[in-house]
Symmetry: C2
Subunit: 230 residues, 2 copies
């Protein structure tokens, strides 16, 4: 019997659908029953993390996230996962809300970075400038011997995220990502975390010589590992 994972979703809704699609794609299946059971709270109305954390206005999302965790537990979830790096700022609130294990995408990113680092000391992060400012990755990497390195041109990255969200052709966004990837590689960050779901949608997001590690794929791995182990 496979164990059911609860998804704190909707941040944004497309990230949640992408996670579900990748779970299907990662599962060799002869029949429906081979796939992994989920209970998904697709809640696009979680108060804006950016507004609360960066702009200092708006409602605190923490109580909503705690309530979602409790509802997922009531609905049969045996572990929790959240396909949004920024919202991992509230991981402790989610952990405290239920006794369920929390499958931590940011912690998994640090583990993956250490695995691939091979003597490197800097890990590139291709994500939203908001993610940099809230310090989720800086705190997670503390004590790991690795430092997160962020691209200089924040405005270009933000513009690329907006272009992808708006459904525009992805060539321009990929060109922006490649410039950021080349910059990070030049500054010594060979391992590069894809830490933004919009960037997860871009094929070949990094330049030759860089090693891309998609945080969403790491979460897929955690969910599969939990669901398929007794």
């Amino acid at each position: 019997m496979k164990r059911r994972v609860g998804i704190l979703g909707g941040m944004g809704p497309q990230a949640t659908v992408l996670l579900m699609q990748r779970l299907i794609d990662a599962t060799p299946a002869q029949d429906d029953a081979d796939h992994i059971p989920l209970i998904v709270d697709q809640n696009p109305q979680v108060p804006s993390r950016i507004r609360f954390l960066i702009e200092g206005t708006g409602e605190d999302p923490a109580p909503t996230l705690a309530a979602m965790a409790r509802r997922l537990q009531m609905a049969g979830a045996e572990a929790l996962a959240m396909p949004c790096n920024t919202a991992h700022h509230f991981a402790d609130t989610i952990r405290a809300a239920t006794p369920l294990p929390f499958l931590d995408m940011v912690a998994a990113s640090v583990t993956a970075a250490r695995t691939h680092a091979a003597g490197d000391t800097s890990i590139g992060i291709l994500g939203s400038p908001a993610l940099r400012r809230i310090g989720v990755f800086d705190r997670a990497f503390a004590g790991s011997g690795l430092s997160p390195l962020w691209p200089e041109d924040e405005a270009a990255l933000l513009a690329a995220i907006r272009q992808i969200k708006a459904g525009l052709p992805r060539d321009e966004a990929r060109a922006t990502l490649h410039r950021a990837s080349a910059e990070l590689l030049g500054r010594g960050a060979r391992v590069q975390l894809i830490a933004c779901t919009e960037f997860s949608l871009i094929a070949n997001p990094t330049v030759t010589g860089a090693l891309p590690v998609d945080t969403l794929d790491l979460l897929v791995g955690l969910i599969r590992g939990f669901a398929l182990s007794e």
Copy 2:
């Protein structure tokens, strides 16, 4: 405030993801909060409908579906929907399990067929032979003045479903669908329901002269209508 719809999902998991993706695509959004909240029970372990209904072996899926409906209600769902035509055989069980409204994809198909019929008396159905055998659409069309018409070559349709599920290139499956569509059109069925999620994945599933109506899109419409009305 948007009302939250509970999804009895996982039959198969890809159909559920496709429904969620189409809901996102159908929603003009400036921000996450513009999207529709869902609570999704992605349960690929619902006992096989085919095995129980057609082969006469295996576990009855009805108790599992009723339990899913109750769990979705506990998790905050205000209505229920199910992206699987075959499983609508159990619609009454689901209706009886909670006081929530059930957004009925098969009933919506009959309504859409009547709207588009314009004097036609036959409605073509491009779906699995199993769907034909359980009689879900025959019962739904009873008394409507319309008769469902099914393609003759059931083996070809089944093979096309298997090809799509296996991720094979879709040209061959589309060719099969076009032969079935041309046959239905020749027999007088201009309106053709796409009543199988595998076929919903095929662009341009019908021949010129036929009017395709995708049942999954009808469910998207029902969910949007419910979620956005007070």
